[in-house]
């Protein structure tokens, strides 16, 4: 059966969809969608083939856009996507996750919403903002955002969220109560004796290994980490990387020990690829060793960054890997990072990349 590979791309000026067949040799581009609103995250629910795009427009506020026909037509809603009167209003939707028939949306200022009707209406999961650490959460460069959502693949009551800067939190009761999951992650911008707090770390990206819900990886503002106990404790795996700073991380679709990163040169050094030479860094052993993958990527004068949600893998064998840059270029590898090709350029700043593989 013919397979279709869709890349769902969120940008500063709308959502785009690229499509190819299983060879992943030629790509066609459609868009911009969502009325060119700034879109932070575009995902698909593989169970329904429904596409969701979360963002926010300076004029008209936050919304989740939805397409039931793979991007041909779109509707939008923010019904229920609001805090109580008097609180700082929601500015934008930053992250989306569809699992167990439910859509979750993370927003700015940081908070979490749940939709049980396919994104037509939302309910606030107040437990997270009731956490006693909330007054200490601080906005990062992108604002005070809930940018990471990891549903447990089997247990709908469990999921993890990532907040910049609040850290990682976990719920085991569907969002009523939350526990911080940051032990072992560093906060370099605190006094020396306060660098391992319970919360407040600047998590940049949180991902889950395939088939192992307790095996998490985290790119942090201050280091790269691995947890084998669902985030209760974290171990640094940054040795061998060119920098402890970066934004995105992407797991392999089948191998829990394989991870792809795109480290940047440092938070106070420009935040572009080290030495202006682009590389995706891959581990095959859970972060014990790292390999730079450069073939086909620009090796001089590359002054781009890659944002936290802008790298993804597909589920094919061999896995495709994709990343989008701050300069609007989209790079693709059809061989697990061994070689790369630029498949789109001149797009707006790319916020997110996700994949959807369709059979027929």
């Amino acid at each position: 059966m013919a397979r279709r590979i869709l890349l769902l791309v969120g940008t500063k000026k709308g959502a785009f969809i690229l499509e190819s067949d299983s060879t992943r040799a030629e790509w066609t581009l459609r868009g911009p969608f969502c009325d060119t609103w700034p879109i932070h995250h575009v995902i698909a629910d593989p169970a329904t083939r429904r596409i969701f795009a979360g963002g926010g427009n300076e004029w008209f506020g936050p919304a989740v856009w939805r397409s039931d026909d793979l991007g041909e037509s779109w509707t939008h809603s923010s019904q229920g996507l609001a805090y109580e009167p008097g609180e700082t209003p929601i500015k934008a939707v930053w992250s989306l996750a569809a699992a167990h028939g439910v859509l979750h949306a993370g927003v700015e200022p940081a908070g979490l919403f749940r939709s049980e009707d396919g994104g037509q209406s939302f309910a606030h999961l107040k437990g997270l903002r009731d956490h006693p650490s909330r007054p200490e959460w601080q906005p990062g460069g992108g604002g005070l955002i809930l940018h990471g959502l990891l549903p447990h693949p089997q247990d709908p009551q469990q999921f993890w969220v990532a907040i910049s800067t609040g850290g990682v939190f976990h719920t085991a009761d569907g969002g009523e109560s939350w526990a911080p999951r940051n032990r072992g992650t560093r906060q370099d911008y605190a006094p020396e004796d306060q660098r391992y707090p319970e919360h407040g770390q600047c998590v940049h990206c949180l991902v889950m290994a395939p088939g192992q819900p307790d095996l998490l990886y985290q790119q942090n503002h201050c280091g790269m980490y691995r947890s084998e106990d669902g985030g209760r404790s974290w171990t640094s795996i940054e040795q061998g990387l060119p920098s402890s700073f970066g934004f995105p991380a992407a797991t392999h679709p089948r191998d829990p020990a394989t991870l792809f990163l795109l480290p940047l040169n440092g938070d106070q050094a420009g935040r572009f690829v080290p030495e202006a030479r682009a590389a995706v860094w891959r581990t095959r052993d859970g972060g014990a060793t790292w390999q730079a993958l450069r073939e086909g990527l620009p090796q001089q004068d590359a002054y781009f960054g890659v944002l936290r949600q802008a790298m993804a893998t597909d589920s094919l064998d061999r896995a495709g890997v994709y990343f989008g840059t701050s300069g609007g270029e989209l790079y693709a590898s059809a061989d697990e990072g061994e070689s790369w090709r630029c498949i789109a350029r001149h797009l707006p700043t790319i916020s997110s990349v996700e994949t959807l593989v369709l059979d027929g």
Binding site: K12, D35, E58, W59, A63, S78, Q79, L81, P89
Partner: protein, 87 residues
């Protein structure tokens, strides 16, 4: 009756919505509620949860800058405009 004038970038989000609407309303808030009745979700595009007119929108009643509580006289013109916003 009052006349409500809507910006093109707003009505584009609600297929079938016209740029100009006639309705009965005694305040800006009532007019926006009536818009939301006809085109569900339009209130969320114009107002935030404070509640207030969104920061980058402006509403004028008979040429005067207004807010949600501004009254509308019979025959009034309510103009919704997008403010200058960059990026």
């Amino acid at each position: 009756m009052v006349q409500v004038l809507l910006p093109a970038s707003l009505v584009r989000l609600f297929p079938g919505a016209p740029r100009q609407v006639e309705m009965d309303a005694a305040s800006v808030a009532q007019a926006i509620a009536a818009l939301d009745q006809r085109w569900p979700g339009m209130r969320d595009r114009i107002c935030d949860s404070t509640p207030a007119i969104r920061r980058h929108l402006k509403v004028f009643v008979d040429g005067e800058l207004a807010n949600l509580t501004t009254p509308l006289r019979p025959g009034a013109e309510l103009l919704v405009m997008t403010a200058m916003s960059g990026g």
